[in-house]
């Protein structure tokens, strides 16, 4: 196995990006750090810069103003990286899909930068912390 993938799987460091989310998904992501779920015991860490990240947790349906930033963040994240499109908004913009200021969903914007990007969909509104953790584990096991 590619050693880069191997090291990603071991203790994935994740960077959280909000592209216009209502905060529900964001607080569930942050909740994963807190004592009930405590992802740090698996070596998963939320980092402060995409340059240190193995995975991006992207929430929100990507508004016009956020699209550029999401592309930049993806470019800066070292490859290989996995993009998790969190929540109904991340997967397909959810109830905001007809909004005039929406340009997403997440996979469309990411694929503009990298057509071969690895994207994992975590539906829910919001997905529970158990679902988020489970999706990260499942996705990394499949790599």
């Amino acid at each position: 196995m590619d050693w880069k993938i191997w090291s990603l799987k071991k203790s994935p460091w994740v960077f959280h990006v909000n592209t216009g989310a209502c905060n529900n998904c964001d607080i569930e992501v942050v909740d994963c750090l807190t004592p009930r779920f405590d992802i740090e015991r698996f070596g998963m860490k939320l980092v402060g810069s995409p340059r240190h990240a193995d995975a991006l947790l992207v929430t929100g349906g990507v508004t016009c103003q956020a699209a550029h930033r999401l592309r930049e963040v993806y470019r800066q994240t070292p490859k290989p990286c996995v993009v998790f499109a969190i929540g109904a908004c991340g997967c397909d913009m959810g109830i905001f899909s007809t909004g005039y200021h929406m340009t997403g969903p997440v996979d469309k914007i990411i694929r503009e930068v990298d057509p071969d990007a690895i994207i994992v969909y975590v539906p829910g509104c919001p997905p529970k912390p158990e679902a988020i953790i489970s999706s990260v584990v499942k996705a990394l096991s499949a790599l």
């Binding site: 007809t98 005039y100 200021h101």
Partner: protein
């Protein structure tokens, strides 16, 4: 000030209004033309005084309406001032932000989404539409479809 006293106080600006309605308890609607909106707003905010809540801009058929919503917290009364801008092609109205900082953002938003000009606004810049949103496209106008 109780409800009756509030109504009496509001009639102090009656000369600038075209109508006063109280369809149900604790909800008052005042109507005026755009040119009087500044004077009435100043009266409501400073003289009554009421708490500014927000303003709603509406693209009605032949005109634009701005509804300024205020709250009288003693009695829980919501006082709505409807200002009518009759010139649909060039909607313009005096800004109330110079004496009411709380209205700065919402006037910028109404400018972004409806294209209404607010004369003498202290800081008219784009607020909520993206940097690359095309000029002249006002999403809340009727002609702009979903």
């Amino acid at each position: 000030m109780n409800s009756e006293e509030l109504r009496n106080k509001l009639s102090g600006i009656e000369d600038k209004l075209t109508k006063i309605e109280e369809p149900i308890d604790n909800r008052i609607y005042l109507y005026c033309e755009a040119e009087n909106s500044c004077a009435v707003n100043k009266f409501l905010f400073e003289d009554v005084p009421l708490r500014f809540v927000i303003a709603t801009g509406i693209d009605s058929d032949a005109c634009f309406e701005i509804i300024y919503h205020y709250s009288y917290d003693e009695t829980g009364c919501v006082v709505n001032l409807k200002a009518f801008i009759r010139d649909h092609d060039n909607p313009k109205i005096e800004s109330i932000a110079p004496f009411l900082p709380a209205a700065e953002w919402i006037e910028r938003e109404m400018h972004d989404l409806l294209g209404i000009e607010f004369a003498n606004h202290p800081d008219m810049r784009r607020l909520i539409l993206a940097d690359d949103w095309p000029e002249g496209v006002y999403p809340l106008r009727k002609e702009v479809k979903q």
